[in-house]
Symmetry: C2
Subunit: 192 residues, 2 copies
Amino acid sequence: MTSPNAPTTTESAPTVVVVSGNPRPGSRTLGAAEAAAQRIAAHLGIDDVATIDLATFAAEILAPEHPAADAAKERLAGATVAVIATPVYKAAYTGLLKSFLDLYGNDGLAGVVAVPLVVSGNPGHALAGEVHLRPVLVELGAVVPARSLTVTEGQLADLDGVIEAWLDRGGEALRRAVVPALVAAGVGEVVR
Amino acid sequence: MTSPNAPTTTESAPTVVVVSGNPRPGSRTLGAAEAAAQRIAAHLGIDDVATIDLATFAAEILAPEHPAADAAKERLAGATVAVIATPVYKAAYTGLLKSFLDLYGNDGLAGVVAVPLVVSGNPGHALAGEVHLRPVLVELGAVVPARSLTVTEGQLADLDGVIEAWLDRGGEALRRAVVPALVAAGVGEVVR
């Protein structure tokens, strides 16, 4: 007999979902976000990591019909943790990422714990995640407990070090934010 | 014989160009921006006002080929004054507008005097033009001499009043920023 708290469908299993808003498929932004997601998942004890690369269906997002975007939208909204990644374009997130997020209605990411991740060619844009991306995610109802993870292009060679340094500072806040979702899914324990 | 300063082609005639980033064609955002552009053109002594409604070619903007967007891009970059208009979506500009602006290279709007115009359903988002749209326009090299023009939905019934109040405060800064372009086109006089 299963525990009443055990997940009964795969939909309720905790998931880390990566969204990359870089217009190039298989970009370094996507790679950095997947590396961060794997490390975050390990930190939180989550096994399931999935990827949404907006570049692969970019052309439909601003069209009247967008079935791949609709499926991605639903998947992201059901994530326990979402790593929302973008390169810096014109000092902010890409229009591609914002066009995707604009498909949501009010509070479309309610219940999702989000990590903004920004890959910047220019260290002067290190605050783009906090100043531009965070407010959009918060407006959508996501919880953003840790600071944005910023990776400059020069740091891509030491991605693991950057992710670990970020996790040292934000990992505990992230864990505390996620515990309720893990407990609800029957796979977590009450936060100590 | 024409003056050496006189415009020799229609391309060099001063122009106010409106861009609307509302995904609905013929939106109230577009209407508000056109009303503002007409008033700004009268204030500056510019005759030519043109409109770009991104909604009419939204579906191509994130596609690999986007001929209508390319033509619009060139037209906007050649504007003397650009009124860049957006409704507030997820606390910021629309993804549609940002996707269009992302088509520019570095300093793609250099030499253009820009007016951010934001139509907001929620007065709490009155700063979206200053906080979100202005930095993108500045990054593109545009000059943004006046404050953003914010119109709440409740103010759409008194649009003329809102535009006049905005022009009372920002009109002189706008005029001074535009004079060099008018002089270069042979239709202005040195600022007093």
